[in-house]
């Protein structure tokens, strides 16, 4: 009896949230699914039912396949770099030294900047005529003439990944730092007494505390990186020769620039599905990790 009441009360308490969620997430999602089966345009015509034509066209197109590859490269490399850099930064900032507080505050700055500001800043750094990167590399003698970093397909994606890492590794560092501070001092002290070297100490003493939070950071960053849009839009708009056109840019062009809401919706849903699969895989990994510890 009491159990039923608690359960009912739980549902009652959650009801407002459920209503809001249905309104802001559920309904648009259902509407997007409906839209994806039509040839609707963004303005003007409502559009007729076209079945799975949009999906077949999008999935079969070379644009989609190429964007999927570009997006995967972008996500895998930038997230991997962010994780490594983030953990290293956290280990460093977890040490006792003068100016640690100032350095911590400074490190969070790139993450706190709006992406558009960050992207504009990096555009200036990469500028082929007067950019700081060209100036630094030529003065160090590593480069004999200025290069067009964002204008060459070979370097544009890498340049974007660097800019994205610079912005996002502080988030990983912050999460890792919080986890590191939860490591009990007596355990690290004990491991020192037992003669564990720095690597073993990290692997067997610290890592178990870091694994969970890092997995959360990994999930967050992968999903974000897979959906990357603004930093690329500001820096290259998908160029040169579409070498940095990711899935989100493709969705944007299809739905808004070309005004094809129907096929844009189908593409957006394909991306959503891919992200959901990724998230589910990570969630399974998280559960396994939790079970193991």
């Amino acid at each position: 009896m009491t159990g039923t009441w608690i359960s009912t009360r739980a549902w009652l308490l959650m009801l407002p949230l459920l209503v809001v969620m249905t309104a802001v997430i559920g309904w648009p999602l259902v509407d997007t699914v409906r839209l994806s089966f039509t040839d609707a345009k963004l303005v003007g015509t409502e559009g007729g039912f076209v079945g799975t034509a949009n999906y077949i066209k999008m999935l079969g197109g070379s644009n989609f396949q190429r964007a999927l590859v570009t997006t995967t490269w972008f996500a895998v490399i930038s997230v991997a770099a962010e994780m490594v850099l983030g953990v290293l930064a956290a280990l460093l900032l977890n040490q006792q030294f003068r100016g640690r507080a100032a350095l911590r505050a400074l490190m969070i700055l790139p993450w706190a900047l709006p992406t558009v500001v960050n992207a504009t800043l990096w555009r200036l750094i990469y500028n082929p005529e007067y950019g700081a990167l060209n100036a630094a590399l030529t003065q160090l003698g590593l480069l004999d003439s200025y290069r067009s970093w964002l204008g060459e397909p070979g370097t544009a994606l890498a340049a974007l990944i660097v800019a994205d890492c610079w912005k996002n590794f502080p988030l990983v560092a912050l999460i890792a730092l919080a986890a590191l501070q939860a490591v009990p001092r007596d355990i690290t002290a004990a491991s020192l007494v037992d003669g564990a070297g720095p690597f073993n100490r990290f692997r067997f003493v610290i890592m178990p505390y870091l694994a969970g939070p890092l997995l959360v950071a990994l999930v967050l960053r992968t999903i974000e990186a897979f959906k990357v849009f603004d930093i690329i839009w500001v820096m290259t708009r998908g160029g040169p020769a579409n070498s940095t056109r990711t899935l989100s840019i493709l969705v944007y062009q299809e739905a808004f620039s070309f005004q094809r809401a129907g096929s844009g919706a189908s593409l957006a849903l394909i991306v959503t599905l891919l992200v959901t699969i990724l998230a589910a895989a990570y969630a399974a990994l998280l559960r396994k990790a939790a079970g193991a510890s």
Partner: protein, 412 residues
């Protein structure tokens, strides 16, 4: 007779009263402009302030976005039920906007005085299918700017009249060691590249579409892209051009790092401003060259217009505002940044003073303005062409193949 006159008078009085009543209620207009080139944000605000002073009952909220965001912002606002009353639009959008009912047809609002006074070429900016969707506001085309000092040092007497001559002069400058890469263009994967391409297409007598189908894969369209590729691979063109927008071209030119640059009107006075530019006083301007045996000069129609959105709740006030912004008085006052749309302005010494060279180039260039294709699918065609240009420049495919795939991806 008397009765009808009386009725008309009563009617007029009533309408007048209605207007007065209406005029007392404050109306707020939302207007979308672009945050670069031609008129600056400060100038648009100053023009709008003058309007607000004359019309205290109308308030105008201004919003500025970069050119790259103008189209999508307009369409998105429309898709979500409106928001703007007045929008700035590029010459390439009326077809799409008309097909999707984004802008009001204002053909009947245009007065005889406007009809006669505005340059005939300017009207093509706002027209589609025989109807007018606003007033032309920024009249613009790309000109060839050159650095007089560098040309002099290279022993060149006259700026080039044909594109081939431009390549020869650039080569002379390069060979003399005056500049590593003398020409600057805006060939970033953006609309800017299409404007440069169109200028060349017009020189070589090419066509974008024929009977609604892509026709740029052969003839002048192909010659134009081949010229770009040769200019790029021969090292005469600044290799960074493939990530430049107009502002990058301006910076390179006014730093004295380019002998030639293709750009809009606004660069003339900025590059001649000693506070901005290292080459002030040395800036020459001529119409973009022609092609031997095909054309004397070349030009792209890069004009923009002001229109009323179909969702606007205050079309009357919006039109009043547009009339103010495009009036000869307003345009003459800001002629240093963008040349007026009014034919008689070019005889006015207040407008021409200090920019005689630009006016001379404008008279020939504006008369030759070549339109980018008017099709509701323009954005798609342009995106495909931008890709083709970049692939050809980067050597990923030949100009011919690149244009063929652009035709396939154009949606036409």
């Amino acid at each position: 007779m008397l009765k009808s006159t009386r009725n008309a008078l009563i009617g007029a009085t009533l309408i007048g009263a209605g207007f007065t009543g209406h005029a007392q209620a404050e109306t707020t207009l939302n207007a979308l402009f672009m945050a670069q080139a031609a008129y600056s944000e400060a100038d648009v605000r100053a023009m709008t302030d003058a309007f607000a002073k004359a019309n205290p009952d109308i308030k105008v909220n201004l919003e500025f976005v970069p050119y790259e965001g103008l189209h999508d912002k307009t369409v998105l606002a429309q898709g979500s039920g409106g928001g703007y009353d007045v929008v700035l639009f590029d010459v390439i959008w009326p077809a799409e906007y008309a097909a999707n009912n984004v802008l009001l047809d204002v053909t009947d609002r245009v007065t005889d005085e406007m009809n006669k006074g505005v340059l005939p070429g300017a009207w093509t900016t706002v027209e589609y299918d025989g109807k007018r969707y606003g007033m032309p506001w920024i009249l613009d085309t790309k000109y060839l700017f050159y650095n007089k000092e560098i040309l002099e040092k290279a022993g060149i007497k006259q700026p080039p009249k044909t594109w081939e001559e431009l390549a020869e002069q650039a080569k002379a400058i390069k060979d003399k060691g005056l500049l590593e890469s003398p020409i600057a263009w805006s060939w970033s994967q953006a609309e800017a590249a299409i404007c440069d391409y169109t200028t060349l297409v017009s020189a070589y007598g090419g066509k974008f579409l024929d009977g609604g189908k892509p026709a740029f894969t052969t003839g002048g369209g192909l010659d134009a892209l081949n010229y770009m590729v040769t200019s790029y691979t021969s090292g005469l063109t600044n290799p960074n051009s493939k990530e430049f927008l107009e502002e990058d071209v301006r910076k390179v030119f006014q730093n004295g790092e380019a002998a030639f640059a293709l750009n809009w009107t606004y660069m003339y006075n900025l590059a001649n401003d000693p506070k901005e530019s290292k080459v002030a006083g040395k800036v020459g301007v001529v119409p973009a060259p022609g092609a031997a045996g095909k054309s004397e000069v070349s030009a792209v129609n890069g004009s923009m217009g002001l229109g009323i959105t179909a969702t606007s709740k205050h079309p009357e006030e919006a039109w009043k505002y547009i009339v103010h912004m495009t009036s000869q008085e307003t345009q003459n006052a800001y002629a240093k940044l963008s040349l007026p749309i009014w034919a008689s302005s070019y005889e006015d010494p207040n407008v021409t003073k200090g920019q005689e060279e630009l006016i001379a180039a404008a008279k020939r260039g504006l008369a030759a303005m070549y339109p980018r294709p008017t099709t509701p699918k323009y954005q798609e065609l342009s995106t495909a062409l931008q890709q083709a240009i970049q692939e050809a420049l980067l050597g990923q495919s030949s100009a011919e193949d690149a244009l063929k795939s652009a035709a396939e991806n154009s949606g036409l």
